[in-house]
């Protein structure tokens, strides 16, 4: 089985690329692959806990928690996150906070990298 690193940059709300990234991660881990996810840019807004799932909007928290339970390692860019007014105690438990080198380190060990760009 392979090691997959996914970089997620688009925001949770506004396009479906974020949803795609999480569903892809779930599918990969279900097939037995080892998956890690890096959140940067607008995607970091999705790590805030206590999201209300309104049916007209995508939700991150429910899917992120499910991925954590499956053993997916996830990390948010600390600078991107605090710049959006989200502090670490407000974040979803289990998601790491680190600097951009975390993503590069995961890429180093990855068989495949999927970089899902923002905007």
């Amino acid at each position: 089985m392979a090691t997959l690193t996914i970089g997620v940059f688009p925001g949770l709300v506004g396009n479906m690329a974020y949803d795609f990234a999480l569903k892809l991660a779930a599918a990969a881990v279900d097939k037995g692959h080892k998956v890690s996810i890096w959140f940067s840019g607008n995607a970091t807004g999705s790590v805030k806990a206590n999201q209300k799932h309104l049916k007209d909007y995508s939700t991150g928290e429910k899917h992120l928690k499910a991925l954590l339970e499956k053993g997916v390692e996830m990390c948010t860019c600390e600078a991107c996150t605090v710049a959006r007014g989200i502090q670490k105690p407000e974040g979803i438990e289990g998601i790491q906070w680190n600097a951009m080198h975390w993503y590069l380190a995961k890429i180093h060990g990855a068989d495949r990298v999927l970089h899902i760009g923002g905007e």
Binding site: L104, A105, I107, H108, G117, E119
Partner: protein
């Protein structure tokens, strides 16, 4: 595993969105990645600007004065200071009428590297040499 070469390919203009800037800052992060890797393991990104990605790279930027944010010019200089390879597509600069001498360097800061304006074929080679290619 040793060194892993990466190509960061920037296709979007600076300042229009965030990810074109994040390409530069993520590439610069290579200088500290070793704290998370085994001894002898390294990551070497090459930062490539193509298409609309060549827009917003010129020197003389006043982003700090105008917006209160670090300019792309400063980020590029920092990239040179940490010895990143930075390539800008010559054909795309010509397409937009941007003179090569408008591209900044960091000589005054003591950087050994300069931004290299190169034909796309050289950027393609950097992409082919990379284990992973990331499009920003």
């Amino acid at each position: 595993m040793g060194d892993v070469k990466l190509a960061f390919v920037v296709q979007r203009p600076q300042y229009k969105g965030e990810t074109s800037r994040l390409a530069i800052t993520h590439a610069i992060a290579y200088q500290t990645v070793e704290i998370l890797l085994e001894d002898g393991d390294t990551v070497t990104p090459t930062l490539c600007f193509i298409g609309e990605g060549v827009l917003g790279l010129q020197k003389g930027q006043k982003a700090m004065d105008t917006y209160g944010i670090t300019s792309t010019e400063t980020h590029l200089k920092n990239a040179l200071l940490v010895d990143l390879d930075v390539l800008v597509c010559k054909e795309d600069l010509e397409k937009y009428g941007i003179p090569e001498d408008s591209i900044p360097d960091a000589e005054e800061m003591g950087a050994d590297k300069t931004i290299r304006v190169v034909p796309f074929s050289e950027i393609q080679k950097a992409i082919e040499d990379a284990k992973h290619v990331l499009f920003f």
